[in-house]
Point group: C2
Chain length 444, copies 2
């Protein structure tokens, strides 16, 4: 059975059991929930907000299908009146959010939902599911982008991403963070992302010898000749490339690059560069892949490895060094009253909030201030209205424009946060008004 990831039943069962409680008590007043990350994981000094486009799509199409209703009825858990209510339920609320691609820090809301309590509650699980993963990957990808200036970066992660949707979202989130494209074909029609791909080892192995594999590939993809040269012996394959190039050239076909996928990439890249240069193939670029992340890439580049581009797969698409964020979607106000969760270690900042960002004259982030949304402070307010009464206020921002915006955002990071080995982050200053509200609520 094919999986529909926007199905209204893709939610935690407790959302539905709570909704039955709200329904029976007539609790439909306005609730305000905010989505934020409590603490940044080790190895992350900043995060990049992503996934808003898909979150808004989800809210806008939200409804229970007839199949969903049939299951709800058969489950025996819910009253007929409540199921009738669910049948008509749509998301009619407002959403405020940081623009996709915004740099943010712990305890700063990236999304605020203002809606009748049941609607705001029910969408929690899937909203987190969408925003958490894309934010996780955009944040990881940004680190890779900063570690490899001017290099070509391609997402190779789909096969080991956690399911199909993760593969697609990883392509999107890494592209918006500054990658050049992805190997995941469906990301092209779905998101308009450039796709890249040439050959796997099986192509070479299925031929009786490496040279004929290279030759056949070049004829089949004359505008896309990137040859994988590590199936048997990397340097010998590089010499095959040199010997093949003149014949291809005579037929108007240029070899664009070679790819290395195993062994000591720096050492092989040096040897291969030398072989190519001596074979009059100075224009042929070297592309590498295999267990790469920002740490390995910056070591390779620091050691002067002659590498022009990187394919980054598993460690990107699983964000392997920090595979999740401590994110939460919490009730901050109901029926006009601010609310505060006080569970140990999980206390929240109550009320509707805004983040003001202040910059140095050079455009570097100096300070964030977390405050109540009805206040106006100096600086740039990061949270804006994006949906009113269930309708998005504007068409989704084009991915390439988000990508440009991320480039600016990353340029505004203080040097102390950009360094891979940095252990510091930035905590928003808590404005006086918010502290006063907390005291008042805790005194209740």
């Amino acid at each position: 059975m094919p999986v529909s990831c926007n199905d209204a039943l893709l939610t935690d069962l407790y959302q539905l059991t709570m909704l039955q409680g709200y329904f029976e008590q007539g609790m439909r007043d306005t609730a305000v929930f905010e989505l934020f990350v409590r603490r940044l994981p080790p190895g992350r000094q900043y995060l990049i907000a992503a996934g808003l486009t898909q979150a808004l799509e989800y809210l806008q199409q939200f409804h229970f299908s007839e199949k969903d209703i049939t299951w709800l009825e058969a489950s025996g858990r819910f009253s007929c009146a409540f199921i009738d209510y669910l049948r008509e339920l749509r998301f009619t609320g407002d959403v405020h959010a940081m623009a996709e691609g915004t740099v943010f820090f712990a305890n700063e809301p990236i999304l605020r939902v203002t809606a009748p309590l049941p609607e705001a509650q029910l969408v929690e699980s899937r909203l987190i599911n969408i925003m958490h993963y894309q934010t996780l990957i955009a944040s990881k990808a940004a680190r890779i982008v900063l570690s490899a200036p001017d290099k070509m970066l391609v997402d190779f992660g789909m096969r080991r991403a956690h399911g199909g949707e993760a593969g697609l979202y990883a392509a999107r989130a890494s592209y918006l963070a500054g990658f050049d494209g992805t190997a995941t074909t469906l990301a092209a029609p779905l998101f308009g992302i450039p796709v890249y791909g040439t050959m796997a080892h099986a192509f070479v192995q299925s031929h009786d010898n490496e040279i004929s594999a290279f030759e056949h590939f070049a004829y089949a993809q004359p505008n896309n000749v990137v040859l994988l040269i590590d199936t048997y012996d990397t340097e010998r394959a590089a010499r095959h490339v040199v010997s093949l190039a003149p014949c291809l050239q005579q037929q108007g076909i240029s070899i664009q690059a070679v790819r290395l996928d195993s062994g000591d990439l720096a050492a092989h890249a040096c040897k291969v560069r030398k072989i190519l240069d001596e074979g009059s193939l100075a224009q042929v670029r070297i592309f590498v892949s295999g267990n790469l992340d920002e740490y390995r890439i910056s070591t390779l580049l620091a050691n002067g490895a002659p590498i022009d581009g990187f394919g980054i797969g598993t460690l990107l698409a699983t964000s392997a060094d920090a595979p999740y964020l401590d994110c939460a979607y919490k009730l901050q106000e109901y029926a006009g009253r601010s609310r505060r969760k006080r569970s140990e270690g999980k206390e929240t900042w109550p009320g509707r909030k805004q983040v003001y960002r202040q910059y140095s004259l050079q455009g570097v982030i100096e300070k964030d201030i977390l405050t109540l949304a009805d206040e106006t402070l100096a600086g740039r307010p990061l949270i804006k209205a994006v949906m009113r009464q269930g309708r998005a206020l504007q068409a989704p921002v084009e991915l390439k424009n988000i990508r440009k915006y991320v480039h600016q955002e990353l340029a505004s990071l203080p040097l102390s946060l950009r360094r891979l080995d940095s252990n510091v982050s930035l905590s928003p200053e808590i404005n006086e008004s918010l502290l006063v509200l907390v005291q008042a609520l805790d005194a209740l």
Copy 2:
């Protein structure tokens, strides 16, 4: 745009560029690919094969939609003749596999595809994507199951799983490994998995006081009264439960359990157990959640914490301590000749293979032997035919039967592999015939 995870374009672009090469050279002979894990990650002594049902569904429905074809044409990368060929392409091959739920080790194939080269090649990316993630999660879940005998275990991971499909597959993979159920509602209609769920902190916070929240919930879900007691002050909430119980009892409603989600779970569980027992609520169970995995659970239980059940979320659904497996799908034979990839550190065992498992008299695994598929050795052959000419040989195994089978499989693990802190695994013995084949291929 909704994502279809079984779309034929959910594949790496290089599969298509290679296919154009195969197409132009008329390379459609039979290829044999095997899917296996090269090395187990630290912290895993064994793995549990999972995902075969969805892999076979994928192969059986494989086709390019008209939308896919339109994109392929517009991309300008492929010839018309090749696109016409893709339009008609179906998967017509054979599949052999380990049964879902089988314990396996490094270098043991869990899936073998025997098909015309282009078909076997094209399905690589998505086959890995499906099998890798479910195997990852079933393997993580099995560790949790072994660490909490006779406890109730529920998957809470959907929100922080990597996308929607991961949330659903995590529910499936953890259930087949021995979990009791999931919080992810859609997993019930989709896979027939028991679902569990009661309330979140927002339910308590949206009420003016905790007692009325508990009361309203009990009336709305009289057969499912599990009360979340850590929103403000855990022990005070436990006393609220005690004071509420008699009134509910008069109306025929029993409180089944309380849930703790923060703070020192062992300490709170002890205090809460005492309060409940002294309040004549000895039958009310204690369920805990919050950043749990097999290590934390076994520490809680070793310390005698009076806990009856666990909700396990993020660390399960992301397999956070080992968020990926080093798995591969490699060409082992083409056109009747065995093939071997020799890339450094990524050498493969060539040919079509079988794994024989030998047991002690007590039914404990003693040895696995990796050998060529046309040999018969002593022991239990783990790999069987599951699909012929693109059609599954039988209906999918029912999930509850896979679950029973995993229970037996885990019982066959040597004690040395079951221990959480064990650093050993089991490597299959390589049979002589396979070593001879490798020598012959390397000598070519």
